[in-house]
Symmetry: C2
Subunit: 300 residues, 2 copies
Amino acid sequence: MPAIECVPNVSEGRRAEVVQALVDAVRAVPEVRLLDSSSDPSHNRSVFTMVGEAASLKAAILSLFETATARIDLRQHSGEHPRLGAVDVVPFIPIADVTMTECVELARATAADVARRFDLPVFLYEEAATTPERRNLEHIRRGEFEGLSAKLARPEWVPDFGPARPHPTAGASVIGARMPLIAYNVNLATDRLEVAKKIAAAVRHSSGGFHFVKAMGVSLEDRGIVQVSMNLTNYEKTPIFRVFEAVKREAERYGVAVLESEIIGLVPAAALLGSAEYYLQIAGFTPQQVLETRLGLDGG
Amino acid sequence: MPAIECVPNVSEGRRAEVVQALVDAVRAVPEVRLLDSSSDPSHNRSVFTMVGEAASLKAAILSLFETATARIDLRQHSGEHPRLGAVDVVPFIPIADVTMTECVELARATAADVARRFDLPVFLYEEAATTPERRNLEHIRRGEFEGLSAKLARPEWVPDFGPARPHPTAGASVIGARMPLIAYNVNLATDRLEVAKKIAAAVRHSSGGFHFVKAMGVSLEDRGIVQVSMNLTNYEKTPIFRVFEAVKREAERYGVAVLESEIIGLVPAAALLGSAEYYLQIAGFTPQQVLETRLGLDGG
């Protein structure tokens, strides 16, 4: 059975009744499984994790937009997290028996429907982007809701779908397709923050490290240690084990040991199976050898 | 959804029409998924791998016995593999959302039905065994079909179910419950067979090694290398990574490098996820973090 994950980020993390209405909007499409709902009041933002097939996910996202545009007014919204619209970002993520191309098609079809039905500008991002500059979410979101009117007036920021002016209360949305993102941290047996920062700089893409790694060094003050806090944005091309080994090796340079690593939230099994294959030096392994693959997602 | 694996070994590996009739007998219970059927003519034996819930598996095994007792005559049977009966061995194996205790109960219920319906002696083995001596399959099978009459006459070999005399054509059967077995080999970058044999002796239970490892050293003559060929009979208590590291360390003692390892056939995801956790030093990981667990076997 094909499975696509969708993780919409909505600009409401404080009013519980609105968050509940958003959850109900998704649950109105019973074929979609809502796996997680998490709200951050200081960000004033909620993140919903759901899984389903293409048609049902599109229906659930349209239902979410219906509620969000009715209940959220960006003119009244403040929070620490940058945002462009009521339903700020909608990524579609291939999980099982589905290609990235199919997720890109789903993103475009959903964006077209959203723009038409709500008269709302929509940008396509990451794998669904129509220009290289639009691949990057931060780049699209720069200027935020408050700068949207001026941004949309520039020829290079004509939206992919919908009008070249903001929706008065719901702003604009960014819809796209991407690989699963893994939140992965490595904790170091030291309280020297500069070590974590130097290692983060060594492994992250923006300062010369691995292509699909975002990283920063942070202090875990309650534990008296530091952490290299990372997002792995494509575990197939930049696998976990390679990043872990690089962090460990860089730490040795400073005489620091790795205490442990952590995976935050959900992770595709394939990301960890790849690490088992690597360390155990398993040759010729195929996913069809995993019993659960044969039982679960593979049509049973 | 609970999933139990069942891997009956039947004493027929040459007559294609009989093997097909055995496959059809299992397929007569549509709730059971037959994952694999493999026949070995020199062993004159076939192994069927199926998965399902308790009640359906019991029905499929009874259907298999029905066909096997009708079509197989052990008095006419020869082959390299030791055997006691037409349906020689039937292990039930917990895979997901099911306990070993439930598999033991299923083994006992199936054994009782088989003995009553076919008037056939049945021994319970491994986790389902009623005495410590009967845990071991090789021990129960010693003497084979030809020695069965004399064996059953001895008070210590009264069967767990059924008559204390062999079925005239179908002999006796051994039914039980066990952990998934992983066929795991480590290939060494040498042609020195004695190195593989010494390492096998070091890691296997019977000569002082790990509790749940069976191992032997063999030559892969076409490749000019040797192999430590293993069965891991309980990956929770003797995990793959511990065995791999021990083999690697022993090989170093002889100046030999590990070329690669191999997993033959199916492996539960948990066995490999455990190795990823170990090498990546992941703290506080739970199976609920694996996306596929949330999607597949967990009630979806």
